[in-house]
């Protein structure tokens, strides 16, 4: 019976649940879904990670390539990150060029990485004006069940922390590059921005919404924090929100961020231990 009611009156269905302060999946209104992080699962990539937030699954593989730098920035490398929402992950997406949501997410994640300064592009320089690293970070969503920005940011940061780059010797006179793959270097990550998303439904704020909840909601809010500082407060329209509610969300994010950062660090340190044993 519940199933039919849900498809006929989705808003009423959710309102009835939320009036009892519980959600259809059994979570409380302000409860986050469990997060699982898996690292180094792709051997062909130079750094990789897989993140699950509830059912939302994203994978990120980073490939390092060599290229000459831009003339205007001779000592800076490149970090090119793209978010793909293939038709595989949800029936909402069709084959063909990236959907609007994929483009917006790509831009938002790329802006965040730039703004937060979590990575210094100068670290990617090998020889000034001649040779720099270009990191291609491709984030692919495998299962789309809400909070895609949170998942993308989490997976990208984790993957960046697992990147190992070989040592390059460059002879500028004869343009000869020699790779020593036996020694591999980590990348310096200066801070870890993490985000959480909230959905507004009537006068309630739903934490960590699923796709269904995102669809019936009247607006979304994403808060990004790094080391107790705010990195972005992104509310792309939707119904108006009072300031008290906004600050409540920010506080909640700051508290949750510690947990996420601990999770990333635990996953990454396990990988580092493994490397030492090898």
């Amino acid at each position: 019976m519940a199933k039919q009611f849900k498809s006929l009156h989705p808003t009423k269905f959710y309102r009835d649940y939320l009036n009892q302060d519980i959600r259809p999946d059994g979570r409380l209104v302000s409860k986050f879904r469990p997060v699982i992080i898996n690292i180094g699962s792709i051997a062909t990539a130079d750094g990789s990670a897989l993140v699950r937030i509830g059912k939302t699954t994203v994978i990120c593989g980073i490939k390092a390539e060599l290229c000459p730098p831009k003339p205007e920035k001779p000592n800076e490398g490149f970090l090119i990150c793209n978010v793909e929402l293939p038709p595989l992950c949800s029936s909402k997406f069709r084959p063909g060029p990236p959907s609007d949501l994929a483009q917006i997410t790509t831009r938002f994640v790329a802006d965040l990485i730039l703004n937060s300064g979590c990575i210094n592009l100068k670290d990617l320089c090998i020889v000034k004006e001649k040779l720099v690293w270009c990191l291609y970070a491709d984030i692919i969503c495998l299962d789309h069940d809400g909070c895609i920005i949170d998942a993308c940011l989490l997976v990208l940061l984790t993957a960046l922390k697992t990147v190992r780059l070989p040592v390059v010797q460059y002879d500028a006179a004869i343009d000869k590059k020699t790779i020593d793959a036996s020694v591999k270097k980590c990348l310096n990550i200066y801070n870890t921005p993490v985000s959480t998303t909230y959905a507004m439904f009537e006068d309630k704020i739903i934490t960590d919404p699923t796709t269904e909840e995102e669809e019936i909601s009247s607006g979304l809010l994403t808060v990004v924090v790094k080391d107790k500082e705010l990195c972005s407060i992104h509310k792309p329209g939707g119904s108006p929100l009072s300031e008290e509610k906004l600050y409540e969300c920010i506080n909640e994010t700051v508290n949750h961020a510690d947990l996420l950062i601990t999770l990333i660090n635990t996953a990454v340190s396990e990988c580092n231990d493994d490397n030492k044993n090898c």
Binding site: Q103, T106, K228, L230, I233, K235, G237, G238, S239, I250
Partner: protein, 219 residues
């Protein structure tokens, strides 16, 4: 358009021209300092079958950059404009129809998003489309020494530590949209919000005087 006497806390000069095109149902040219946009509204008009919504109008937003095809930065801008307009429009009054909003960037010297949002609101007023509330947007930048600059231009933004864009509604002065870049702390965010809220009130007054003048000219 002086909000406060302090030089840093004043907005760039805002000029606008309503209803300059005859074809669209509503149109506006708005310039904020050197930044300028044109917005045209068509609607409610017939809707394409695959976009039809039975309980409300479908709102389409098209953001056209000054030259070339829209890239992913323009898409992000478009999504904010779309979500703001969709929230403000009383679209339930026009079921099975569509409202098309076309935003043409004329010149971008910083603050294109707030300028385009304000233009959308004026154009919707000009078109006479029913809205739940009006909306106004203001932006401010934060320099390295922690000083706020209202309505920053592109020269300032290049060196700014952070920049903020806010959209407020006219009734409860609630926050409709917030978009930031750079990093900042909570106190800075709060003061930026307060500052922009004051500036937004100035913009609501500007809407009032513009519409008043427009109606007077028509009579």
């Amino acid at each position: 358009m002086e909000v406060e006497s302090n030089v840093n806390l004043s907005m760039r000069e805002v000029n606008c021209k309503l209803g300059m095109f005859t074809r669209p149902d509503g149109s506006v040219f708005i310039s904020q300092g050197e930044t300028a946009v044109i917005v045209g509204i068509y609607g409610p008009i017939e809707v394409k079958p695959h976009k039809i919504l039975i309980n409300k109008a479908s709102v389409e937003t098209h953001y056209c950059p000054k030259s070339g095809m829209p890239g992913i930065a323009d898409k992000l801008c478009e999504s904010i404009l779309h979500n703001v307009c969709e929230a403000a429009l009383a679209s339930a009054l026009y079921p099975r129809s569509s409202i098309v909003i076309i935003i043409q960037e004329m010149q971008n010297c910083g603050g294109i998003i707030p300028c385009a949002i304000n233009a959308c609101c004026l154009a919707l007023l000009n078109a006479g489309t029913d809205m739940k509330f009006l909306f106004a947007s203001a932006s401010c930048g934060l320099d390295d020494e922690g000083n706020f600059h209202l309505d920053p231009d592109d020269l300032f933004l290049e060196t700014a530590a952070a920049s903020f864009i806010f959209v407020f509604d006219s009734i409860g002065k609630g926050l409709i949209a917030s978009h930031t870049s750079g990093s900042f702390n909570l106190a800075q965010y709060q003061s930026a919000l307060e500052l922009c809220k004051k500036a937004a009130e100035g913009i609501f007054d500007f809407y009032k005087s513009t519409i008043k003048k427009d109606l007077k000219d028509k009579i």
